[in-house]
Subunit: 332 residues, 3 copies
């Protein structure tokens, strides 16, 4: 499946982008990220127009990036401003610069036509700017196509089995949920009442079984997934806390993905132990997904077609597949 390109994708964490060029591949395109001296993040095509050397192994000279092979220099707009022994440089030596926006812990790059880039197309994530919230985050490479991760995130019944002891309890798989599609957003809502409190929440909040636990998924196709979580003592509003679990699903190529994740919360803000606990727990959950999805990808590599049987639990995932396919079809 080709990629939907007229969209923002997370290419890196803000901390990964600095004065040392960073090479990344997004939707099959090689890009190099760096910061200008004024701190502004830049994304250029990671390929010197001369002989194809990756610019990401080159060096910054002020706001320009210099190719490590023959020294060609490009400014932050992608204009080739110097080549050895050359007075006039043709404009076809320029390279593509991509729109960049920073939001929360992430650097988002627009992979489509420049004129269509609009930061307002990002979903609202108000908690990222709210001082009463705090966020931990990370990124893991995934040796599987992005679609497998989207399947995974839209059907949380797998928490019960793959993530038992972390976020999974028997009730996640058993509780019915509702699904609805609005434009390119898929909503999946599951309300669990008076259920077991898994370690992820019990150890971070101090709450104990039974709890009410809400999972409200908002998947903004193609690459942004928000899980609004409310946990509270069963039957009570008092003591309710909120967690926003975010995933930025960035296709690297047809068989690889970057799995950016972030966990924001409105409790225990300033508590470094809870920071460390949730960071470690969510990373382990992500690594469980990475291990499982890599196995499925490996099997898909060797097979022509993949027969599947879908169940009620797949309603959200199947809706997400249709939305994604439509986004790709629209671009053709």
């Amino acid at each position: 499946m080709p990629f939907a390109k007229q969209h923002w994708y997370v290419a890196a964490t803000t901390a990964e982008v600095g004065r040392k060029p960073l090479g990344r591949t997004v939707c099959g395109e090689h890009i190099v990220l760096y910061r200008r001296e004024d701190g502004v993040a830049v994304a250029l095509n990671d390929r010197c127009s001369h002989r194809g050397y990756p610019l990401s192994v080159g060096a910054l000279v002020g706001d320009e990036i210099q190719c490590g092979y023959h020294g060609l220099r490009f400014d932050s707009c992608g204009t080739c401003v110097w080549a050895p022994g050359q007075e006039r440089i043709p404009s076809r030596a320029n390279i593509t610069a991509r729109p960049v926006v920073e939001r929360g812990p992430w650097v988002w790059v627009w992979m489509g036509d420049r004129e269509a880039a609009d930061p307002a197309k990002l979903p609202a994530m108000a908690w990222l700017d709210d001082p009463n919230w705090v966020t931990v985050h990370g990124v893991e490479p995934l040796a599987a196509r992005a679609g497998l991760l989207i399947d995974n995130l839209l059907d949380l019944s797998h928490e019960t089995f793959l993530h038992a002891g972390y976020i999974g309890t028997p009730e996640v798989a058993e509780t019915p949920f509702s699904t609805r599609v609005e434009g390119n957003v898929v909503h999946v809502n599951r309300r669990m009442e008076a259920v077991e409190c898994p370690p992820f929440y019990s150890e971070s909040t101090g709450l104990s079984t039974p709890i009410d636990r809400w999972q409200d998924i908002e998947y903004h196709a193609p690459g942004c997934y928000l899980l609004h979580v409310r946990v509270a003592p069963a039957g009570s509003d008092e003591g309710a806390v909120h967690v926003e679990v975010m995933y930025a699903v960035t296709p690297v190529d047809e068989h690889n993905t970057l799995d950016f994740w972030a966990v924001s919360r409105d409790f225990a803000v300033g508590d470094a132990e809870v920071d460390a606990f949730l960071e470690r727990m969510n990373r382990e959950v992500v690594l469980q997904d990475v291990a499982a999805l890599s196995l499925i990808e490996a099997r898909m590599a060797g097979a022509e077609s993949q027969p599947e049987v879908s169940f009620k639990i797949d309603t959200g995932g199947l809706a997400a597949r249709r939305v994604l396919a439509d986004l790709v079809a629209v671009e053709r």
Copy 2:
């Protein structure tokens, strides 16, 4: 070349199959093996019908196997008996169960149509049930197509060069042999008289040069090879001993094979030193074959066609190739 599937293939040693699921690939098919609580061995398709996760990384729940991703459970007949949040499970969620039979040190799986499975199709291997015989065995992965191992086993002249110091002596390559085909069985018979006794036999039997040494091959295409060996003091019946060298040649895919081997004998039964000696010797011989055949496979991978020159020594191997090709053709 496609595989002949209407046959028994060794998928594992009996000890490998237990209460921890074992994933194996036979003739390109992924299968998972385990034992029910009553000890009966089970072989199922190693792929959850839901989203394709390997069942072999799941867990046993009684006699059922539970998928590690979303918890679907399958009984030992392959029937899907549980899925999360699902009351009625459609029959297309069931997976294939394959007939299994245990014989000697091995678990054989029938890769063809269930109704045609018949343990009587296995060759007679009476020594496996005879208390006057004892068997050592092992298995090695081979990064080469099965056909290269069958070529190898049908032309023992290579013992002289590849296995010198183990089972090879000059006379193996020099002594003429007869070949005959009966159905899907290829017989190759070589009778060496008053020849050198190689270490494999001299150290295990105490016999010394000269010996009479008989090699009677019975290759049951596609996957079972029996080498009936008689060694005795030259010109004498007294002191004759017998060895049955068995190979189960199991194609994994078009470029990989499992090389199961077993050595049975009717002497020094109960002698652990001879057990250890023959196990070590034969494993080293197998590893010499594995190294050589992997080199040939690597060369074949890079070439369109492989010109060959065949000699008298190849009579058995060429017959085996014809029988194998016929078995595949019959299935089309």
Copy 3:
């Protein structure tokens, strides 16, 4: 691109070829190299005509090479002289022998029609036989197509950036050069006057900035590159020294190359410290090229076509590409 085969290619250093068979792949052809008992180097097809086993893992028996699998023996002309159990060996069991010539530190093999092999087709390299000169040399495997190394060697402007601190100074990239093609030889001449002396020359010769530095490239397509270097105190003939930098570019396959290099000089002959210094320096320069070209090759593997922009600095490289393409076209 297919290979130009009616040419000499360096297959090994003279020291690599001895009484232990050496397997090499040149222009996609597997060859085995060894020395007869009288020291003459031999190159045969590295594939037993029987079942395709590499002869390079076999053993020498006098001047013959014996296959390690079934013991077939071939003489140094490629004639099959023995096979197990076989009285008459058909001539189609013979394998190809390739013409070999040794020159300087290298064993050259003719990859074309035997009757066209002529050592006189090698370029003159008189310094290799001159006792007033001395040579250091080495070989590195390069995971990139040969064309990328030829591009690299024909455009020395990259020395300024990729090899700064070794042989690169700002003036190499800045100084214009002339280019001329004669038959299958591309000449590129750059004369730098009163320029910086890089460590490679300052530490080996004792010369200090400013120097006159001449780079006269003679690329004999497809596989032999000579760089005639003269360095001298600026404006003076006294104290001028000469270096011959040679590269033998040997395609292994479409994506791999052997990068043979040699550095000859007419000064400090007999000075082991200068030997060691130049050997280490040039090896590091070669490894810088290897690292860079491997990155470009990896990028080419994933892309259909490679847009390029060429500059004045590419005049020599583009000429070399045309000459190479003509050599291949002529052979069709």
